[in-house]
């Protein structure tokens, strides 16, 4: 009976992806707003502030751990108005429950000197394509522009981290040793003439050598994404498995689609993809998903 009353009060089409989270207080919900990659315009911030001031019955917002703005304490009767008012600046509601969530991302390669891949563009693109896709459990994705991995892609169901492959040419090298100084991994050691000796087994593909080199003797041969799958946090954290390196930027969407398909077929209800991998084996995932994307 209660459901019938609620139906008259709320447009359920607005709720299909969740994003309205029940609170302990009767009839109050937290409205989670979509902020892909955590980047938000001042225009949207002002509108959110205005809406929150009007409709939060508790008088505050919360910045979620996954970069969303949440308006806390919104009464169920105000849902439609809140959604409409936010829509005037294009601000959408995010999701909760067993589906693809809004992707997170680091600040962005436009202004961060470490940035290798464009996480912000990718987060928006991936959000548009995959947001709300139903899954066995929640499905979280994140993008880090470089191996510092601010987005913690090891905790993502599917994480992408920027990498760059360095190559050195002896003609331009003047033996200054700055690359060996710049390399934090010990992958580059200078010989007697100051020239680099490169040990790829230690390289994390961060590109510090390329950025440090004053003569452009170090160059990037290719850039791409290191792909991690099966990570999660929560009660039983699981570190993601690295399944592919140097995935080209234009293959990210295909990789996500293939992973979601595999998860749908191999996973069980209420099981995160990392648990599915533990149950059926990482090799199965690699063989059925990752191998098709491996470059020769």
């Amino acid at each position: 009976m209660a459901e019938k009353t609620v139906k008259q009060r709320v447009d359920f089409n607005e709720l299909k992806s969740g994003g309205f989270i029940k609170q302990t207080q009767k009839d109050l919900f937290t409205v989670r707003l979509k902020v892909p990659g955590g980047r938000i315009t001042p225009e949207k911030m002002l509108k959110i502030a205005e809406v929150a001031k009007k409709y939060s019955r508790m008088g505050y917002c919360h910045l979620s751990f996954r970069q969303s703005v949440e308006i806390v304490g919104v009464h169920i009767d105000d849902f439609d108005t809140v959604v409409k008012e936010l829509a005037t600046v294009g601000q959408k509601v995010a999701s909760c429950g067993p589906r693809v969530r809004v992707p997170t991302a680091c600040g962005g390669c436009e202004y961060n000197p470490n940035g290798i891949m464009d996480t912000q563009t990718k987060a928006v693109e991936v959000d548009e394509k995959f947001f709300g896709t139903p899954c066995h459990h929640k499905f979280k994705m994140g993008f880090s522009g470089c191996p510092i991995d601010c987005t913690r892609t090891r905790e993502m169901d599917l994480g992408f981290q920027g990498v760059v492959y360095p190559v050195w040419g002896k003609d331009l090298c003047n033996g200054c040793t700055l690359c060996a100084k710049a390399c934090l991994e010990g992958a580059i050691v200078s010989d007697k003439e100051g020239r680099p000796v490169f040990d790829e087994s230690k390289c994390v593909y961060c590109g510090d050598c390329i950025r440090a080199c004053p003569t452009d003797a170090w160059k990037d041969k290719k850039k791409g994404w290191l792909v991690r799958v099966g990570g999660k946090h929560g009660r039983h954290p699981r570190e993601a498995n690295e399944v592919l390196n140097f995935l080209p930027d234009n293959k990210v969407n295909d990789f996500i689609a293939a992973t979601l398909k595999w998860y749908k077929e191999n996973g069980k209800t209420k099981e995160r993809v990392g648990t599915s991998i533990d149950r059926v084996g990482l090799d199965k995932f690699k063989k059925e998903v990752a191998s098709a994307f491996a470059q020769s």
Binding site: C176, D208, C213
Partner: protein, 81 residues
């Protein structure tokens, strides 16, 4: 780097003991006082300074023409862009 051995810097600054990113900011301010093509000598500590400052200088478009190890610190010559 033989051709640069006898380069005489137009200005110099000793940044030993100066932390990041103040060492870079001081380098930048010194470079602003110079004309294009002039040379600045800086001395940097090992560790974080030698890792960070050269790369920031490069990002600003200047050219590092010499790097020299002097008793655990580094002497760099920078040609202003």
């Amino acid at each position: 780097m033989g051709e640069d051995e006898k380069v005489i810097p137009d200005d110099k600054i000793d940044l030993r003991g100066v932390l990041c990113p103040i060492n870079f900011v001081k380098t930048k301010l010194k470079l602003e006082m110079l004309d294009t093509g002039q040379i600045l000598e800086i001395i940097l500590d090992d560790g974080e300074p030698i890792r960070s400052v050269p790369r920031s200088v490069k990002e600003e478009g200047h050219k590092i023409i010499k790097v020299e190890n002097i008793d655990g610190a580094y002497r760099l010559l920078i040609r202003k862009a």
